[in-house]
Amino acid sequence: MSRYRVLPLLVLAGALLFALVVPLGDPAAVHAVDLEAVYLAPGAGHPFGTDQLGRDVWVRSAQALRLSLLLALFSSVASTVIGVGVGVAAASAGGVLDRVAMRLIDTVNAVPHLLLGVVVLALWPGNWWAIVASIALTHWTQVARIVRARLVEVREAEYVALSRACGASPAAIWFTHLVPAVAPQAAIALVLQLPHAIWHESALSFLGVGLPPQSASLGLLLEDARGGILSGAWWLLVFPAALLVLVSWAAAALAHPVGFRPAGPRRAARHMRRAQAAAARPAAGPGGAYLATDGLTVCDPARPDRPPLVQEVDYLAHRGAVNMILGPSGAGKSTLLRALSGLLSPQLQADGRILVDGRALGPRDLAVERGRRLVFVPGSAATALNPVRSVGAALGRERRRHGLDASIPALATSLAELDLAPRLLNHYPHELSGGQAQRVVLALGLVAGCDILVLDEPTSALDPDSAGILQGVLRRLADTGCTVIMVTHDQQLAQRLGDRVALLVNGRLTAQGSVAELLGPRRMPSATEQSVEAL
């Protein structure tokens, strides 16, 4: 468990203990009126003081917290159940029912929640289940929306199509793919509703439409405090309010999605040491080097038992050259490429330096460079495009962002450079073939002109003609001074197009140099076969 969750967990556990244990000691004390002990300040015997009827605030707060938590729990569960039900029904029925459900959600969202809650409670005053119903009926919409969106997305996924193609029944599709995709979302929604429901219950009781005034809930206690605060009895407000805030905060903090990991002092110190050590060494690589790495290691901190994905790599990419990275599958080629572009998955941890033009760049600098000087073209191009934007809209937006002409003829010209027909401007990503999508992504990347172009297997999904066109474009870019870095498994391509080549095996760089040195003279198939053996 992350240490950022320990504190809220302790607070919540403490509050639960308080709520469950304290009223057990003396159940009668909750309602015991003692008119000789009215408005006693906190002290011995009454840790939280007493109220206007001499009742003990310590015991009453515990009882109130218990009731409020219970009502909040019922309400969150009820609203999650309704939300999941509506979301699943809308997604699986589709058509008219889906549209009706979505409009119903809009309608419920348009009505002020407190108003709807007050109406429900006015019909059934003083009933605990009416409070649960009034909260549940106004808060299911968000869950329904999330669940429906997720279901529609996952249902269309290729892996669901593949499972269906090997004979999976509808129930199997649900329990293998859909439920595991939706359940975490619903669970987070439930926990997030908890503090909100506590707050909602308190507000309703405070307004006097909640529970009967003699019972103890946080809202009623706060309502009582209104009179006491004027006569200086601050404890009536402070203790119940503090409980409300603490419990709400703890529940919300626990629901916070995982994966957020700020750099702690230890990591910062390590970076500092490394930076100092690096500064002591000569900074730039040999002449002509443009992008370089220095002892780059990428590992998965969650899996200390596995070897690093990329290990102590000192890589050099030359300016104005096509730099190939070759290696067998699983060698860490794509990981290295992502590290170079500052696009590593946040779960992975990278150590070592990345230098552009002799200047060391951190992940944040890389993110700034990316899209300006450094362009990354992913292997699976179709998923890299925004599905709701046509090719023309995406390209036009990118050109406008860089202050370029975004007229139709200009867009058609930039597509034509990659041998794409102008009619594709009206196409959406799902209407493009793999090869077309690859070239559209490249066209987007090239809008601003770039210094470093990083590509992951750009030609493997293309037919020979498109691959030839793309290779021509890459060659031209390199000849005009761009640093092209590409990963490929195709030795012949590396030999034909590459100037420099690096071999990566098991995360380690085993060799790097010019293509002629490592793979023999260009266009010699026999040499290729030998180097396949060497791999």
């Binding site: 290729e158 004979g167 199997a172 595991p180 067998p328 060698a331 209407e431 073939s433 793999g434 999904a461």
Partner: protein, 224 residues
């Protein structure tokens, strides 16, 4: 054990112009047929129709003589006789499942399980790992923790698991290294040797020519 397409027609919704029109294709038992064609010519669509993953607008698909008309429902038992090797292994794997569960799923679905678990099938799965030269330890990882080549080996094993009569492969070797490509082509040829009809789409002329008995250009399949 053959695959036959008759008069297949298909157009994308909301677009003018058909992608496939009156298309005939026959892959006899034990034969490997390659389909080539430029980007966007409809290769992937044709293969999805042949694998019964998508219905055509017109025409029929016959799997070992069992006819399926366009739009007709397909039984699970017929689906189990078709193996599919997808174009992008990444997109074709549920990121939440362990690879063991991914690999075991055809067996689990056949045995009417709601959720695939590898435990029941460990021995069979390990045999398959050996055949596709994959470290069985990888079965306890998820897709994000292995490379494209390793993932495609899992999906190839999954496609071959139920000994399919028809094997449909869309760019099975795109984005893979030489070793994995050689292995995949060898296993596809072996499956054809066992009497399966194999249909492959690929840009890689060399690998097509090395294993296909016949390579057809997509445009030439139209009825004249």
């Amino acid at each position: 054990m053959s695959l036959q397409l008759d008069g297949i027609g298909y157009r994308y919704p909301n677009t003018a112009g058909t992608v496939l029109e009156q298309l005939d294709l026959r892959v006899a038992t034990g034969r490997i047929v390659g389909v080539k064609g430029p980007s966007g010519s409809g290769k992937s669509t044709l293969l999805r129709i042949a694998a019964l993953m998508q219905s055509a607008d017109t025409g029929t698909v016959s799997i070992s003589g069992e006819r399926v008309d366009a739009g007709a429902p397909v039984s699970a038992s017929l689906r189990r006789r078709i193996g599919v090797v997808p174009q992008s292994p990444r997109a074709a794997t549920d990121p939440r499942l362990k690879l063991g569960a991914v690999l075991a799923s055809p067996l689990a679905f056949r045995d009417r399980a709601w959720r695939p678990r590898q435990g029941r099938y460990t021995a069979a799965l390990h045999r398959w790992c050996e055949r596709v030269e994959l470290d069985p330890g990888l079965l306890s990882r998820t897709a994000a923790e292995v490379s494209d080549g390793q993932l495609q080996r899992v999906l190839l094993a999954r496609a071959l698991l139920l000994d399919p009569a028809v094997l449909v492969c869309d760019e099975p070797t795109a984005q893979l290294d030489g070793q994995t490509t050689t292995l995949i082509l060898r296993l596809l040829a072996e499956q054809a040797g066992r009497g399966a009809a194999v249909l492959i789409a690929s840009h890689d002329r060399q690998s097509l020519e090395s294993i296909c008995h016949e390579v057809v250009q997509l445009g030439s399949l139209q009825r004249s």
